[in-house]
Every structure is written in C-alpha cells, then in structure tokens.
C-alpha cells in the first residue's frame, strides 16, 4: 500500500498518515507507506525495493486518477517483476482531496476508497495481455490541407496511406482561398504543389468522390469499406481535355467551388488545378440522367471515357491506423437574416469574398457587387456572425480564423482599390499567433481600415445600398453606413460527415461535433479510441499553420504506431466460464465487436465430460465493455480485471 501526497495536492486536505495507518491492518496488506510524489522516479525505485523485500504480489496506490498514472504504476510494477495488472489505484486526488474542503471528511473518504481498492486487489489475478499484429497502412479521411499533409508525412516515412475524399478533388477549403495571412502568399501557390505531391507519391492512393461506408476492427487491424461513388467517367481513359464540360448543355448548376457565385456544367471538374483532373457527372443536373435524352459528353469524348452505366463501387481495405481530417464548413446563415444575407446578393460570406478576390475566381479577382457587377465603394465587414453565441442558431466557441482573414480581406481591398472605405465591426480582435497582431495593426495603421467596436444590429437593403446600422461602443454613438457590399464572417462548424464518421469510429465528439482528443494538452492529436488520430479543424477551429502542424503531429503518431510489429492488447477482456454457459447466444447478440462466437467444446462439469455448445471470446476483438457479463443469464461471462466479485467487493468495502 502506497499513499501519495502529491505535494500538497492530496496532503492538504487528506491526512495521508492517517490513511496509511488505517489501511495497514486491512487483510492482505503487508506494508503501508506514504511519500511526496509517487510518480517520481525515486519513489518508483522504492516500490521496486518494497516488492523485492516483502515479496509483494500486488500493490495499491492511493494517488491521482488512474486515467493519469495507471500506466506509470503498472510499468513500475512490471519493472519490479510483478504482474502489471496486480496494481489498483485509489483515486484520492481528483475524486477526493480536490473536491472536499473538510479534512476529516476527506480523510475518511480516502480511507474508504483505499479499502475498496484493497478489497479489489485481493481478488485480482495476474493477467497477460494478448498481442495483435499491425497492418502497415493508414487511412486518412478527408483530402484538405490537413489530410494531404498527414498523408504526405506518413508516406514519407515509408508507409502506405490512402486518402478518402468525398468531393471530386482533393484540396479542400484551402484551394478556395486567395491569399493567406499573415504573409499574404497565394494559397494556391503553396497548396497545389502539395496536391501534386500527394497524387504523385507512390505510397499514397487517392480515393476521391468516395466516402467511408463502414469501419470494423480495432487499433492495428481496422477493416474499412470505402464507397467510390460512380463518377460516370472512366478515370483510366479520361485525358482531362475538358471538351465535355464545354459542350455540356446543362450549365445552370451553382458551382460549389465558387460558393454559388458562378454556374458550372453537369459534367465538371471543380477547378482547373483539381486532382485528379477527371470530371464527374452530377447526375441530378445531367439531362441524360434525368430525361434519357442528350449524351453530348459521350459523343464529344474522343477518349471514350464517359460511362453512364458506371455504378458505385465498394472497396474493402485493411488499415493499422485511421486519421480523421474531415474539416469544416461555414455555418448556414438562414437564421441571421438581420444581416439580410438571403435578401440581398450583395451580402456575402467571407468564403464567397475569397472567391471574388481570387484571380481564378468567377470575377477573375475583380471585386464587384454580385448584384450589378459594379465596384463597391464602401465595404462593411461583420465579425462573429454566429460565433461566441449561446442562442440556438449560433456556436458557443470562437471560430479563431475570422479576425485574421478579415484583416487580410480589408487590407487587400484597400491595397487594390485605394478609393474604397472599409469598415470592420468587431467584438474583440483576437490575434494570438506569430506576426498576427502586427498584421492586424498594419490594416489599421497603414491601410486605414476603420475598425469599429460594436456588432452590427441590422442590414437593410434599400435604394441599391445596404443600410448598415450599428453602434460604436467606444464613441457611444450610432453609426449608419450606406454600404455597397457587406461581408459576413460566419462561425465555422465541423463538416456534417464527421458525426456519422465519429459513430463508425466510436471516436467521441463534443457537443459541437468536434472530435474529442485523448487529452486536451498532452495527447491533442489522438482520439480516446486507440488507433484513431485527429488532424485539422475536425478537432477544433484552427488556421492553416496550426492545421499543418497538427497534421504532422498526427502523422508522427501514426508512424509510431505503424512502426510496431505487434501491439499489446488490453487483457481486461471477457472470459467464459464454460461449465456454467448454457449456450443461449445472448452474449453473442449484445457484443458490439462480434468478439463472441459459439463453439462445440468438451466441457467437464460435475464429473461428467461432454461436448457442449459454449461461448468463446476472441480476445483480440474484445474491447472489454462488459455488456455480455450482465446479459449472461447463467453468470458464465465475466470480465477480467472487473469481475463480478471484484466490483461487489468494492461495493461491500464502500458500504461497510
């Protein structure tokens, strides 16, 4: 029995000495001691000595949460020659000393928790963890900058990696952007080489226009079904000449890539640098698919690549690790019509503005009003549309990127069109990041952008203008501006595909559908589910530098995993007491992992040897949830490390 002080974290409210004394007389306890920091190297060696000296078969540590240091103490036990699973931890910090102020009360509780741990330890059995092989291939879901960077880094280390991207091209949101802050280098110029690298890399396979259909298995051994949507164009034959798009008579579909600011044909490549450079047919918009008449693209295709008969294809592959890089979208602005987004074409989102600025965009980089194609003279930017909001249609978090891109937009406008007046209405300007604040200050000081503290209250489209009504909180006066263009900075939210993916991966998500990390500080790129890693905005709002850094970090974690030949499994798995099993299949039905099968086995029961149909647990598949143990009507199923007897012993100790 070892009781930790955790400096004053525990010792301040729990009488550590009293706890040590109280448990000394518990059954099975041979030695009880306490120390300043049990997790320190020095005390771990003293554990080793104690194990050797007293021939200990198990240890109880009264310390912080097992979620924090269970692995540490297990390692120490193993180093001392003990079975590492003969360690029990009484959580007397997070669940005792930190929440209770009254010392006697906290001490009493700590003693009870320690007793429960002793009671459990007395019933512990040495466990051996199983091993499983690792499939040396990774899956990256999402082909934006996060997914591309992760895949490139994994491939660079020599491992096979597949990218699954649901749109027809990789590139994601970054491909839509014009310039990037704070350096103002062109987004396409830095992204397209990476896209080309990803396409060219021998170790990377791209599955565009594809989605993950199902995920089975566990860390090191995932089986994933990928649905390749029918492109209706044979990628092998297509030369990417683009004649089909030119001739396609259906040209009225809003371009997703241009945020609806231009139209595209039914057979289309999203943008010129798309990878792969192979069109897809949007079957909803295609006249051939809708009416049966047309077939122009097939006729004009000299490569004979158009294939109306193509069907979705399911590809099944094995992976050792999976990276979620599903990215984000700006929120829909239907519920923010005080800014008249759906009432005036001249109220646009910042992503639409990116397309307007972009030389490859619908206006060739010429910033004009969508309504009349006139150059706007007065432009108003509205920050935090839906961010930091606790009402239903908003998001409670800060979207992080808007302050900086708005400074960029304002600056670009003033540089390109010095005659314009540019206003930015903000709540706070948040610029943590290298050279970020300097960038924002340049917008104010050098480019004369008018920053006004105060949220816009109403945008009224009238007389061809947008009457913007706001209040300047610092001057304490009302501001009314007749603007020509209003640019809204919508909150960003995880792509809707993330929710379904999270369920498939059993990777937990927060209330906003961002993936949760295993530890917010110490394990930021791993999901709590083993073998699942997180890259980019799917974990939380971030800009391009942060995304790329996280993408690299996720890759290094994947590489670490794939470099192992075998993985040590979790030994706390279900176990069937065969003589008790009545062969009812109830456990098989509730097992979420398909880890239980039934086998005809010789069973020795009350002196009789007979062949019976009994449950058998695949220890590699079992994740140790325990659903089967409670379902089992005969009590044959039990969970190692959390046996029925152990939990009841804990109950008894607590209620004593």
């Amino acid at each position: 029995m070892f009781v930790c002080w955790c400096g004053s974290n525990i010792a301040a409210t729990v009488d550590v000495e009293a706890v040590t004394e109280a448990v000394r007389t518990e059954p099975g306890v041979v030695v009880a001691t306490n120390s300043q920091y049990m997790c320190s190297e020095g005390w771990q060696s003293s554990i080793r000595n104690a194990v050797a000296e007293h021939k200990l078969t198990g240890i109880v540590v009264c310390a912080c949460s097992p979620r924090m240091h269970e692995p540490t103490f297990r390692k120490a036990a193993a180093a001392a020659g003990m079975n590492p699973y003969m360690v029990e931890i009484a959580n007397i910090r997070e669940q005792c000393s930190w929440i209770h102020k009254d010392k006697p009360e906290a001490t009493e509780k700590a003693i009870i928790l320690a007793r429960a741990a002793v009671a459990k330890l007395n019933l512990d059995k040495p466990l051996t963890a199983g091993e499983s092989p690792v499939t040396k291939r990774a899956l990256v879901i999402g082909g934006g900058i996060a997914g591309i960077q992760t895949a490139l880094d994994i491939a660079d280390a020599g491992y096979e990696v597949d990218i699954v991207e649901k749109s027809p091209t990789i590139g994601g949101k970054m491909a839509m952007l014009d310039k990037t802050f704070p350096t103002l280098d062109c987004s396409a110029c830095i992204l397209t080489p990476k896209m080309v690298d990803a396409a060219a890399a021998e170790k990377i396979s791209l599955y565009t226009y594809s989605e993950v259909e199902s995920v089975k298995g566990f860390v090191g051994n995932f089986t994933v079904e990928i649905r390749k949507h029918a492109r209706s164009v044979n990628s092998e034959l297509c030369t990417g000449c683009g004649v089909c798009m030119e001739k396609c008579p259906s040209k009225k579909t809003k371009s997703e890539f241009n945020q609806g600011l231009s139209n595209r044909s039914a057979i289309y490549i999203p943008f010129a640098q798309a990878i792969p450079n192979v069109p897809v047919i949007d079957r909803e918009a295609c006249i051939k698919f809708q009416t049966g008449k047309c077939g122009v693209c097939e006729k004009v295709c000299t490569a004979k690549a158009v294939d109306y008969e193509q069907q979705d294809e399911i590809v099944t592959k094995q992976y050792g690790a999976i990276v979620a890089a599903t990215g984000f979208n700006p929120i829909k602005l239907d519920n923010f019509d005080e800014f008249a987004y759906s009432q005036s074409p001249d109220v646009i989102t910042s992503l639409e503005f990116e397309r307007l600025c972009n030389a490859a965009g619908p206006t060739k980089g010429h910033v004009v009003r969508p309504s009349d194609h006139e150059e706007p003279k007065t432009i108003v930017f509205v920050q935090c549309v839906g961010s930091r909001s606790t009402v239903d249609c908003g998001k409670t978090y800060c979207s992080k990127i808007c302050c900086m891109y708005t400074a960029k937009h304002a600056m670009l406008l003033r540089e390109k069109y010095p005659g314009t007046e540019v206003y930015v209405f903000y709540i706070d300007v948040r610029t943590p990041g290298k050279s970020f604040d300097e960038f924002y200050r340049r917008a104010v000081e050098e480019y004369n952008v008018h920053y006004v503290k105060g949220m816009v209250g109403k945008v009224a489209p009238e007389d061809g203008h947008l009457r913007v009504q706001a209040s300047d909180l610092i001057a304490d006066k009302q501001i009314i501006i007749d603007a020509d263009l209003v640019v809204l900075a919508p909150a960003i939210e995880p792509d809707p595909s993330a929710r379904a993916l999270g369920t498939m991966l059993t990777a937990s998500m927060d209330t906003n559908d961002f993936f949760t990390e295993a530890h917010p500080k110490l394990r930021p790129v791993e999901s709590p589910t083993a073998g699942i890693f997180l890259s980019g905005v799917c974990q939380g709002p971030k800009d391009i530098p942060d995304t790329v850094a996280q993408a690299g970090a996720a890759a290094s974690k994947v590489i670490g995993l794939l470099s192992k030949d075998k993985l040590i499994g979790n030994p706390c798995v279900a176990e069937c007491n065969e003589p008790l099993c009545n062969g009812c299949s109830a456990c098989e039905l509730v097992c979420p992992y398909g880890a239980i099968t039934y086998e005809e086995k010789p069973v020795f029961d009350h002196g009789v040897r007979e062949t019976r149909r009994v449950a058998s647990v695949n220890e590699a598949l079992c994740q140790g949830c325990g659903a089967c143990t409670v379902t089992c009507p005969s009590g044959a199923m039990d969970l190692k490390g959390f046996t029925n007897l152990q939990i009841m012993a804990e109950v008894d100790a607590i209620c004593r």
Binding site: D334, N335, Q343, P461, E462
Partner: protein, 268 residues
C-alpha cells in the same frame, strides 16, 4: 375545425373590420370559431417582470377556458396573441409562476400550458393551408403589390413566439400570394412602428412609422397589410400617408368574395 376565439377589446371597437372579415372568411374556409364566453382584456402589454402575476391572469383565464373546451385558442390581434402566447409559455416553463397563477385562478385541475395558442395567420397556414385558400379564392387580387407589415409582436422573441423566421418571415408574403396578389419584400417590415409611444411621444412614432412606410413604398408596394390594430392606427396616423394600410383579413374576405357588411352586423 373548431377553435376557441379570443378577439380582444380593440376588435370589438376600433378594429371591427379586422374581426368581422376574419369571421366571414372563416365561414368560407370551413373553420368554426367559438368566441370565449367571458374573456377580459389581455392587458395589451406582456409584463416582462417575472414578479408580475395579476397582469397575467386574464390571459391565463382565457387559456384555461380553452383547455376546458379542449380547443386550440385562436387569436387575431398581434398584441393579444403576443400576450397570451407568452403567458402560456410562462405557464409551461416557469414553475414558480405556474404555482402562483393557479393559486389565484383555482381551476379544476392545475393549468400547465396545455392549450395551443394559434394566430389566425398560423391557422391559415397550418390548418387550412395556403394552397387550399388559393383554390377558394373567387376574386384574386390581381395586379396588387402588397407589402406585409409584421411589426414586433408576432415575431419576437422568436424563442417563444416561434411564428416564423424573425428576421426574414414568409407567412404574410405567402398569404398575399395565396390571395392572388404580389408580395413586396422590404427591409423594415419587421422593425417597430413606434406604437407604444404614439400617445406620449408622437414625434418618435412619426419617425418610425414613416420609415416603415417609405421603405415599403420604395420597394414598390401599393399598400400595406398588418394584423395589428395599433400598427394600423400608427402607420395611418403617423406614417407618411403614401400608402393605404389595411388588415390582412379584409383582403382575405375580399378575395374570398365575402360581403363584410354581414360580418359587421354580427359583430356589433
């Protein structure tokens, strides 16, 4: 379809045409309207203060009466609708208020917000259906460009009123289309007309109402319709006078070919 109906004071006096046209149109639409027996003035203003009980009682009584009859409670005047709907929400969500009001009114069974409060426009949209109205229109109001004026009370706060999108509502526009006219969307249709200050501070009311009316006129409307007697009064008396303002039920009755005199006689 049968509804309990809460007309409210103004509809019995200065806004008889709002009421009578609504009754006449309902007949054509096959909607039965049963005026509550002993309704009292709703108070015209929803008491925002949570410690005000007395001012909520008349609305609560109307709600309880409708519950007793097992009917939805139909309202027409924006102010009545606003007050009754919000009091109903209090009765549903505020246990403290619920206890106090029940204590005062002493209904057979405690009232917990069971009654559904339906505005006449909501009834047209959800119970009758604008498509159905279109079919019943005998006298489509062709070539009329009508601006809908929502004002404040039907829409806000949307979390309670849940009437329509508070910043870009459609319901009256859809209604205008259903009766064969062309809806005109203008930005100030959901901004305040300044009604509460029409007595005390007429200057402000003039500014507000004029802005609304100018906004509608600029957008090309030839008239404005509303559901609120105070808005109507205020736009008429304090607006720019550019556009006529009428109740939406009057136009409905007109489109359905209902003679309003008959309705008037009954209402008086």
């Amino acid at each position: 379809m049968k509804f309990s109906y809460f007309p409210g004071c103004t509809l019995k006096t200065k806004a008889k045409e709002l009421d009578s046209a609504a009754r006449g149109a309902a007949e054509v639409l096959g909607v039965e309207i049963e005026e509550l027996d002993e309704w009292q003035c709703c108070g015209a203003v929803y008491p925002l203060a949570r410690d005000e009980i007395a001012t909520r009682l008349s609305a609560a009584r109307a709600l309880i009466d409708a519950k007793r009859k097992g009917q939805d409670l139909l309202t027409l005047c924006s102010a009545c609708h606003h007050v009754i709907k919000r009091v109903n929400d209090d009765m549903k969500t505020d246990a403290d208020m619920r206890g106090k009001v029940n204590n005062y009114v002493q209904p057979e069974a405690p009232y917990e917000g069971e009654t559904r409060v339906v505005h006449y426009l909501e009834m047209l949209r959800d119970n009758v259906g604008f498509g159905e109205i279109k079919k019943l229109v005998t006298n489509p109001l062709k070539d009329r460009k009508i601006g809908a004026y929502y004002g404040c009370m039907l829409l806000r706060p949307s979390s309670v009123m849940s009437f329509d999108n508070p910043e870009n509502p459609r319901i009256i526009e859809d209604f205008i289309s259903a009766i064969g006219a062309e809806p005109v969307i203008y930005p100030y249709r959901n901004e305040c007309c300044g009604g509460y200050l029409a007595l005390e501070d007429r200057g402000i009311s003039k500014d507000m109402s004029s802005r609304v009316m100018r906004s509608a006129a600029k957008a090309g409307a030839d008239s404005i319709i509303t559901a609120c007697p105070l808005c109507l009064y205020n736009l008429n008396e304090n607006g720019t006078g550019e556009l006529p303002v009428r109740y939406f039920t009057e136009l409905l009755a007109e489109a359905l070919g209902v003679k309003s005199e008959g309705g008037l006689a009954r209402a008086c």
